[in-house]
Symmetry: C2
Subunit: 616 residues, 2 copies
């Protein structure tokens, strides 16, 4: 007996078994309800309101929620078990439309996709010629430069399904010299591809017309794997230690991508059969989960994936809802810590072609840094933690509707900008960096990261916003101002989280500079990629010392460069070859094993002295 659970606003429904948690019910209903902790009940971000049909609040819910909230029917979706028909009201912060970074720089490529179509005119005489049809097609393709065309069983099945009567010819779909299939008539003008950047948190798909090379549409979604953990380590653990855990995670990412395909095709009025080719990039863990490769070796020294090469498989076999004759590809990996998304960033920004020292930082859920001295390339991955994403922060939230994304301390006042200009519900990474940078500039935080007491700050126009009870914190906004908003505070613990995150990034930058024997003054350009990298204000990033001061560098925000790299690879086999060379050329630095890491990290924790003074 299935039980109906419906979600408001929107009215989406799911039929679930008794005992299922609301988070799973939401997923089944197609409702994007989010949490950071993978359903452990620790982040308390999947709060919902429900009065009926649920088991009583668990001990964990009683710990994480106020008694007042519980009295009003507030529950943690990851803990509350369905017992009967339930109507669930979503809170604005948990359903906010996510602002997923979809745009990015890209370099021009020559249009030469891996999958091609060849129209072969055939008349009645051709069908009646002696000798098998495949042999004649092989000969014709040979004249078009396809040597020794090799037919798969599936290609012959599709060829056999075509009735020659009334056909002007047929169209062959090829991957190099492998014939993947046939379609009746001339369909050579219909060849679409999807470039997919699979992030730990968000998945972005770009629909490309492979006959002209243009982007037709973009769509994004939260990675459904989040239900089993916000970070890759939790997901690896789930994949290895739950029965069918790997299959489940694979299904979730495929379901996310299939959802994007469905949406993007609907938007464009295209059948999903029109997409023949899919190119994915992602970090190494996400890549292994996507391909269904058990990530066992990723958590054991020396933390290598089983194979680094870009992989390919038939779309049908993979379970992706594009044309069943189509194919799925991935770009190569660099190491267990540096995935094909970083290869995509380098490909899109052309960092590998730079003759001058340049550095690229891709700050998403994970932070990756690539540095070139004009000859060599070195990369590292920083365990920055989730602070830049607004996670593990008292009033933190992702960069979506209702998040404070910009904070200005000016003339004794604080101005907050809220995404979509609605009542604020929390603060996202770029807002947090702004706020802490402002607190530093206002002298309310010491260089070692301590928030002053109200007494110590006496004389500051912001002194009365400081308090020590119940937590050492700074009131960024007032309670219920504007109405329906949530009070946002910056706690001492938040500042410590940010210090850890920026310390890790800064240590990474410093070590890469050391290794390539460069100083900050040698760098000509700093490229900031990824969602956080794109939205953070460079001045604030420098303000908190997330980056060292690069005196001669231009700072350029390049958007979702990983996705741009995937797009280039989808359009051009030359770009795929370039990506293979990039992956081979990047030297990976394992920070944890670098002897000076502790020193750099501790040094990086401190905030810059010179900026810890009031704004003029």
């Amino acid at each position: 007996m299935k039980i109906k659970v419906s979600f408001l606003p929107g009215g989406r429904e799911a039929q679930v078994d008794e005992g299922v948690c609301l988070l799973e019910a939401a997923r089944l209903a197609g409702v994007g309800l989010e949490g950071d902790c993978g359903g452990l009940g620790s982040c308390a971000k999947c709060r919902v309101i429900a009065h009926e049909g649920l088991a009583p609040p668990t001990v964990l819910e009683q710990e994480r929620l106020d008694n007042q909230d519980i009295a009003q029917g507030m529950r943690l979706a990851c803990q509350a078990q369905v017992k009967g028909p339930a109507q669930v009201t979503l809170l604005p912060s948990s359903t906010a439309r996510h602002h997923i970074l979809e745009e990015g720089v890209s370099r021009a490529v020559r249009l030469q996709p891996a999958l091609t179509k060849h129209f072969l005119p055939l008349d009645v005489g051709d069908w009646k010629r002696s000798g098998p049809l495949a042999a004649m097609i092989r000969e014709r393709l040979g004249r078009e430069g396809v040597r020794r065309a090799d037919f798969s069983v599936r290609a012959l099945q599709s060829l056999g399904a075509i009735d020659p009567a009334g056909q002007e010819g047929l169209t062959a779909l090829l991957f190099q010299n492998q014939v993947l299939g046939f379609e009746p008539g001339d369909t050579s003008g219909q060849l679409w591809g999807l470039a997919v950047d699979i992030g730990t948190t968000t998945v972005v798909g770009y629909l490309l017309d492979l006959t002209h090379g243009r982007i037709a549409a973009v769509a994004s979604a939260l990675n459904e794997q989040q239900i089993h953990g916000a970070d890759v380590i939790t997901r690896i653990d789930y994949a290895l230690h739950h029965p069918q855990g790997l299959d489940r995670l694979r299904e979730l990412v495929l379901s996310t991508i299939n959802g994007i395909i469905e949406r993007i095709c609907q938007q464009q009025g295209l059948p999903d059969q029109a997409i023949y080719s899919l190119m994915v990039v992602g970090n190494t863990t996400i890549n292994q989960l996507f391909w269904g490769i058990p990530p066992r070796l990723l958590i054991r020294p020396p933390y290598n994936p089983i194979a680094m090469e870009g992989l390919s498989a038939s779309a049908k076999e993979m379970g992706l809802r594009i044309n069943p004759l189509g194919m799925v590809f991935s770009l190569p990996l660099v190491s267990g810590f540096i995935g094909s998304d970083t290869v995509g960033v380098v490909l899109a920004t052309g960092l590998h072609k730079s003759r001058k020292p340049r550095i690229a930082l891709d700050i998403g859920t994970n932070g990756e840094i690539v540095l070139t001295d004009g000859h060599r390339m070195a990369a590292c991955s920083c365990a920055a933690g989730p602070a830049f994403e607004g996670a593990h922060i008292q009033c933190g939230m992702r960069g979506c509707s209702g998040a404070i994304d910009r904070v200005d301390f000016k003339h004794g006042r604080i101005a907050c900008h809220v995404i979509d200009e609605v009542p604020h519900q929390g603060i996202c990474g770029s807002g947090l960096v702004d706020a802490v940078s402002g607190l530093l500039a206002s002298g309310l935080i010491t260089a070692d990261g301590r928030l002053l007491t109200r007494q110590e700050a006496a004389g500051s126009p912001f002194a009365d916003r400081l308090s020590e009870e119940p937590l050492t914190q700074f009131r960024l906004t007032e309670k219920m101002l504007p109405p329906a908003s949530r009070q946002v505070v910056i706690t001492q613990k938040d500042i410590r989280e940010l210090q850890l995150a920026k310390g890790a990034m800064l240590a990474g930058v410093s070590i890469l500079l050391d290794i390539l024997d460069l100083g900050p003054e040698d760098i000509h350009e700093v490229l900031l990629a990824g969602a956080f990298g794109n939205y953070v204000r460079p001045r604030s990033a420098l303000g908190i010392g997330l980056l060292p001061t690069f005196p001669r560098a231009r700072i350029r925000q390049v958007g979702n460069a990983a996705g741009s790299g995937a797009r280039m690879a989808l359009l051009s086999q030359a770009a795929i070859k370039e990506a293979i060379r990039i992956a081979e050329r990047i030297g990976h630095i394992d920070l944890a094993r670098y002897p000076d890491f502790q020193h750099h990290f501790l040094k990086g924790l401190a905030f810059p002295h010179e900026l810890a003074r009031p704004d003029p």
Copy 2:
């Protein structure tokens, strides 16, 4: 609501929907009930006894069955629809264990199977080395002579599933340089293959130990596709004109092979996972149905298959219950009429290596002939019709328990040998040829095939066996002698059927001789392959003029040579290459388009004069 139908003897059961015919119910119950006509109700060979649970006899059943039989509950399984729980009694002739020809000649080959296993010893240090595991394995395989090993996604999935802890190493499964998968530990001693000869009527599987090259077991079954027609034309029609017809036929042949796999593995105490490789041969139609290729072009001039080459696919994708990492292969075809079974016959008999003129005849459901003059090879396929298989013959049956398979006219008496020496139920192909040869030798049939009347035969000791009412026929056995037997007669129509069959074969032989500019006296050896070819007595075959008199030829019965060819190909890549060259070298003669065909055919209808005399 499913309805239970049980079958006696044996007690097998099936749960079926209302309205399903008993033939389908028998298939679901795993009961081999046979007919020739594909469920059209015309052959009346699927007779059973059932008193309850069925719809009343159809008009067709009333036509085909005696009123007396109907009164006793006799039904045609292909017509009788299930309405309620039914108990069905099978008649001996419809359930007889089939004597399927399993043995055959074979040439020695060097053991070098397409799929190989390589054990790679690995110690803890190897697992902990830097660099991806796949790269290290590629390098090790390179040292063993495998160049640039290419890993499929499935191979990496199976590699990732292996926990290095406590492993002495792992075993790689390869097809050429493609790595198909990995197994923990050393499994290189376990590598089995199945060679399968898929006949229109029967399927034979040979289990081979690919590490030693020996045959471990043989098993056979009736091709389950028969439910949709005894001949390939009926099946093509079903594949093209029934919704999901092709899928259905493909599932039936896969189900037949999976049944053989299950049985053969049980016999040998092997898990089905131990089989990694499957090599099939079969006629062109059967080949296309096996691979799921719509056979549209096979029934239109110039009657070519879409592709001639041998195909391969993953066992998992094909739905065959061997190791999911394994592969399935087929040998190449020669034309729409000459399949890989004929290529197998040539491969096994070495006909292509002969420096002297030799001829091979594979007489199964279809008749194929290959002739070599010591240099060239020519082949044709004869529309012999099903008479040699006992079909379309008044009292005909397949060569199974209860069939008269040998008939001797001696000293005024007729001696019949019955397979398994049980009460006879009918006559099979070799018995029919014996009987007609005996009738010819006794002077009871004229050279143009007319059965004498009793008056004309006056003086013959067999004259009283002749009658004109209700049919012009010859009583081979007496009614109910021995008890529980069925009276067997040879009708004028049976003789005509046999004339058509042998006329077609003889025309084929004559035309091939013409084309290669040979006479019967040039032939050094006649090879008889296939079930009928193996069991027919050469003297009787010559007696009815199925073969011309080859004055200098040795006649050799080579058994299931097609299956032997499949076994050679499974054991040896060199044999596969040889098969490819054979398929390219055989010239196919389309008899229907040969200008002198009518002349040869009409000439071939006549029985030999010189033998139309009484036995001494």
